[in-house]
Symmetry: C2
Subunit: 251 residues, 2 copies
């Protein structure tokens, strides 16, 4: 816990604009809410491009054209609180990209969502890596909870899109596992300097979804039903499932 | 960083047995190395059954029949250092269970390794969860590195067992992803109070390996070759692959 607990980000009725009196510096005055958002946006950009260890409150102040005391007045918990506010903002942005396009086959729709996800990963490369890799100095039970919330939204949206009202434990495990594969694959991809074309990684993940659903269908009637429905919707272009069947044939 | 950095665990040429002089307490004297191992074993047991937040150095001292100053003489970095030593010991124990039995089909061998893994997960339930879930107070870049080492050993052993000398990026991604699925599935299983029979979870993971390899084979000749080899070794009992093919048939 910080020595002086700050109000939770996102709900803070920000203080009356506490801009320092203009002295020799040329700090711009900004309305309260706008300043708050600006600080978060600046922090987000810094945390996206450098590991959190290497971002200081002074960097944020400088990039925002603000003083260090001003940043502290908005974020009394200092860097940790600012980091969490930036993370919440990033999480919101990410989940907004989970919207599934209304047209297309299931695999086209899944591809579109993955494209949005990878665009986010690229934009926030350093922060994404640091956060999901674990062991970062700014990682706490609170930041883990924010990440878990994103996973929960991804799970809920996927199940809803599959037309599932109440998912049994095996179908839930399938979707959760696939989400873990997406995360792990993104991290490996970043580690290797994005050597693999992103479209190939995306197509691999779509194929993984089908394959993992097939393996789960062997254990669970609900997943079997969902998979049959998805394959039927793929229509005449369901070549991937046919190819999956081919590689599974005994030599 | 701790105020007084302690020597790295595992290499510490332990101090001359610094047992407190017997006063009114009945502390047992133990040889240096034995005491060190005993403290780690006791810590491991405590961290296995309670989240790290709830384990104090006093608990370790009490359970070990030792004084708090004695524990500090062996682990000057305090709880964090003791936790890391216990984690290293657990990691060693876990990787020793990755040994693959010499006989059996590939899926029988994989099943045997998974049985060993789940036995470990059950024995170290609280510590396993806390560590892999992230956000624990004792989590640092060092503890993350220990976990990553375990994953690396699992990757290497799996590839070696598949007869792969030099794995390309896609085959590596496949095995890494499957390991992530194993971890995620273990955590979900613990979360749900181990409601699913462990044998079913294990069989699901074996099927996932086949299915994920099939999806990767669509993108990678090396994986296609490995998968064909594995399926050939399954012999006449390769029913699972046949069933996978069946659920992938278009309705």
């Amino acid at each position: 816990m910080e020595a002086s607990p700050a109000p939770a980000a996102g709900q803070a009725p920000a203080p009356a604009e506490p801009e320092p009196r203009p002295r020799r510096t040329g700090y711009r005055r900004l309305p309260v809410q706008q300043r708050r958002e600006q600080l978060i946006a600046v922090a987000l950009e810094l945390f996206a491009s450098r590991p959190p260890e290497e971002v200081g409150l002074d960097d944020v102040a400088e990039a925002a054209g603000a003083s260090r005391p001003l940043v502290y007045r908005y974020f009394a918990g200092g860097k940790q609180q600012l980091y969490e506010a930036a993370l919440r903002s990033a999480a919101q942005e990410l989940t907004s990209r989970f919207a599934v396009p209304v047209s297309g086959t299931p695999s086209e729709q899944l591809s579109a969502v993955l494209d949005g996800y990878f665009a986010f990963v690229v934009e926030h490369e350093a922060g994404y890596s640091a956060l999901l890799r674990g062991g970062s100095v700014v990682e706490t039970a609170r930041t883990s909870a924010i990440v878990d919330d994103v996973r929960r939204v991804a799970l809920r949206r996927t199940l809803r899109h599959l037309g599932v009202r109440e998912a049994g434990p095996r179908l839930t495990l399938l979707v959760r596992s696939w989400i873990a594969v997406v995360e792990g694959a993104s991290l490996s991809w970043l580690d290797e300097g994005r050597a693999l074309p992103v479209t190939e990684l995306r197509d691999w993940l779509v194929d993984q979804f089908t394959a993992m659903a097939a393996a789960t269908a062997l254990h669970d009637p609900q997943t079997a039903e969902v998979l049959a429905g998805v394959l039927a919707l793929e229509g005449p272009r369901a070549r991937r499932a046919e190819r999956l069947r081919a590689v599974l044939a005994r030599p």
